[in-house]
């Protein structure tokens, strides 16, 4: 009789405020997929927001306080990785908690330790766990929108596609200009709503040309922006976060 010792990876969930408040099912679907691939998942209920909305709008003092709150929770939480269903929020911690936010020295150290452990969901599965097939089944034509922070700050491009190709029944189609911004940009979409809308129109046109029935991605914020126009125009395309697709099983 042989014994196999499987090392259980411990992940601490980083649930962005947007996911917590507007897309809780996406968070739960990420939990389901992580548990399915054998990860032990814990969640600290004290987390709220990483501070990105304030940071992007120029309010660094406010953002710094939230960053410190975040770091107090996650530093020393015992988990090997901190996983978020968002490239944008992962970027906030891994990139912007660096020089730009100018944290006090003791928090700079914490940020350094926490940064090493933060991963975006699909990058965690593919790059850390070396998983490509999560056992999902989903029959549909699906296209991927590359979210800017995930793509350009974290270099996440192939990871979601790798995972989607292994989903049974799923047909992956590429839209033109998949890397073009959807126009959300947080408070930009309100401050410069007309420009944001013009950018969104081009994104929606690309999605329509792709012939996909579902547009997916690694960030709920971009998908929320896209969904707002698809629904308002009554177009037969829906948005789904990639965790929602990967958690699907054959009926």
């Amino acid at each position: 009789m042989s014994h196999t010792f499987v090392r259980i990876v411990h992940v601490s969930l980083f649930i962005p405020c947007l996911t917590d408040q507007l897309f809780p099912e996406t968070g739960m679907n990420m939990v389901r997929v992580l548990e399915r691939v054998g990860v032990r998942v814990t969640y600290d209920r004290r987390q709220t927001c990483c501070g990105q909305p304030a940071f992007n709008t120029g309010y660094h003092d406010e953002s710094r306080r939230l960053a410190m709150h975040f770091l107090d929770i996650f530093d020393g939480d015992g988990a090997e990785y901190i996983v978020a269903p968002s490239g944008s929020c992962a970027t906030m911690v891994t990139v912007f908690y660096g020089d730009l936010l100018s944290l006090p020295p003791e928090y700079r150290e914490k940020a350094g330790r926490v940064r090493e452990r933060v991963r975006e969901f699909t990058s965690f599965l593919v790059d850390v766990m070396h998983v490509e097939d999560v056992g999902a089944a989903f029959s549909s034509r699906v296209t991927v929108h590359d979210s800017c922070h995930a793509l350009r700050e974290l270099h996440i491009k192939q990871q979601p596609r790798t995972l989607l190709r292994a989903v049974r029944g799923l047909q992956l189609v590429e839209m033109d200009e998949a890397e073009r911004c959807c126009g959300f940009g947080g408070t930009f979409s309100v401050k410069h709503a007309d420009i944001s809308t013009a950018m969104l129109e081009e994104k929606v046109a690309s999605i329509e040309r792709s012939g996909a029935a579902v547009v997916t991605g690694v960030d709920s914020s971009c998908l929320m922006q896209i969904d707002g126009m698809l629904r308002r125009r009554g177009l037969p395309v829906r948005t789904m976060h990639i965790a929602d697709i990967l958690a699907s099983e054959a009926a």
Partner: protein, 470 residues
């Protein structure tokens, strides 16, 4: 017809409002920028180490800017040794005065001028025209916008916002010729008219793409031959350059010609690359008798000293960040209201126009980062936009309502229990505002899209069930 909104950065909102629904304009810009991007992609694939070339470009620029006083001095000595006269101008007014003084002394019925963003920055053409000196833009794109009495809308393609039909009508209206939209015919017409000015001019004005410190050489790139004529035919050549244009030596020029041509127009090398080292020598047949080089500061010293602005001095004015920017593609160069539009423009305009006048610009970006990704000298443009936002909010340039909202956001988000409570309340009430498609209307989006209606339970609530089950 109502008078058009002046193209200045403080009118950003109006300028955007006048352009954002102009589908023809957007079509022109999209076509032109897409072509440039496609050509660029085709020629950068010549190199499998393009990324390393960009890094090298960054390193050389950083080195030069770190040692700018040294290289300026070196350039000044070498240029003077070659017979050129070097002038330093601290600001736009001083630069205009120097050029005006030189032009007045030398007279002539007309000044021919080649394309130069630095002369746009100091408003040189207008100043000379206002002083009664006829000044003709000889770059075709610049010629077009000069006829239209518009500023350039792109740093390498000044008339990119116009279709050839619009250019044809402009030529017919202003030059009294028969309408045609054939690009070759239009070019031939401009060429014929410009030829007379080239022959009559005693003074030619140009910009500078690169200035070589070791030899005092000016390098200017172009595709039409008008730079050759503007700098070589008149008796006096006046070159205006920002003081960041220096490169150490000819060897680095090789790299930068590659970076510039490929990034700007998708060319391996532009059709003409002029290297000008002083005036005509006694044994030479062609060239000007005098070469004057006006080196402009105009805020660049401040940028050099500020670690957050310094990188913007690395810019080689290729315009690739504009071509790739979805905001630029939506509003065009004039939408920004600044001589320098697009992403790079939004980080340098506050230096040239002042922060108060430019405060909309750093916020007019979704921070997608396509600009930094394409920049041939790796300027972290979108991170500099973030820095400007912080700087402007810090200096009190933010609406009071926004400050209050951010304060509330912080107060709530720092307290997990309060955060949950606020979420619960929002989830309770927002469904009352649902409309037709199940979403919630947000007034500023004017019906273009909706905000999602919140679900019944937050993640925290779902997680509790999950924990209890397992």
């Amino acid at each position: 017809m109502s008078t058009p909104t002046p193209i200045v950065p403080e009118h950003f909102k109006q300028l955007v409002g006048e352009r954002i629904h102009d589908d023809a304009l957007r079509g022109n810009i999209r076509r032109a920028t897409r072509t440039s991007l496609e050509k660029r992609l085709a020629v950068i694939s010549d190199y499998d180490d393009w990324e390393e070339l960009r890094s090298l470009g960054y390193d050389i620029k950083r080195h030069v800017i770190d040692h700018l006083p040294y290289y300026l001095k070196k350039f000044e000595h070498a240029a003077a040794a070659a017979g050129a006269v070097v002038h330093f101008a601290t600001d736009a007014a001083e630069a205009r005065e120097i050029v005006h003084g030189l032009a007045v002394q030398r007279g002539g019925p007309v000044i021919v001028k080649s394309k130069s963003m630095t002369t746009e920055e100091i408003g040189l053409t207008h100043a000379l025209e206002d002083a009664g000196i006829r000044t003709v833009e000889t770059d075709l794109g610049e010629y077009i916008v000069q006829l239209a009495k518009e500023p350039p809308s792109h740093i390498t393609a000044p008339a990119l916002h116009k279709s050839r039909g619009e250019i044809g009508r402009l030529f017919a209206d202003t030059l009294g010729i028969e309408y045609t939209d054939d690009p070759e015919e239009l070019t031939a017409i401009a060429r014929r008219l410009l030829r007379e000015d080239f022959l009559a001019a005693d003074v030619g004005i140009s910009g500078v793409n690169f200035a070589i410190a070791e030899s005092g050489t000016l390098c200017i790139v172009e595709n039409e031959g008008n730079v050759r004529l503007s700098t070589g035919l008149p008796k006096t050549h006046i070159a205006v350059m920002g003081m960041e244009k220096l490169l150490p030596d000819m060897e680095s020029l090789g790299l930068f010609l590659n970076l510039l041509g490929r990034s700007a127009t998708g060319q391996r090398l532009t059709c003409y690359t002029s290297l000008i080292t002083g005036p005509r020598r006694p044994h030479e047949r062609d060239g000007p008798d005098e070469v004057h080089i006006v080196i402009l500061d105009n805020g660049r010293s401040r940028m050099m000293r500020d670690p957050h602005l310094r990188e913007a001095l690395f810019c080689i004015r290729c315009g690739a960040c504009m071509n790739v920017c979805p905001v630029y593609q939506s509003i065009g160069g004039h939408g920004y209201g600044s001589v320098y539009s697009g992403p790079i423009g939004s980080i340098i305009t506050p230096v040239f126009y002042g922060e108060k006048r430019s405060r909309a610009l750093p916020f007019a970006s979704s921070l997608c980062g396509a600009c930094a990704e394409i920049c041939p000298v790796k300027i972290d443009i979108h991170h500099h936009l973030l820095w400007w936002r912080k700087s402007m909010v810090g200096s009190g340039d933010a609406p009071r309502s926004e400050r209050l909202m951010m304060r509330i956001f912080l107060a709530v988000s720092r307290r997990p229990a309060l955060f949950d409570l606020a979420g619960r309340i929002a989830r309770l009430f927002t469904p009352l505002f649902r409309d037709g498609d199940g979403g919630i209307s947000v007034p500023v989006w004017r019906g273009s899209r909706s905000f999602p209606a919140p679900p019944k339970k937050s993640f925290k609530q779902l997680w509790r069930h999950h924990e209890q089950r397992s």
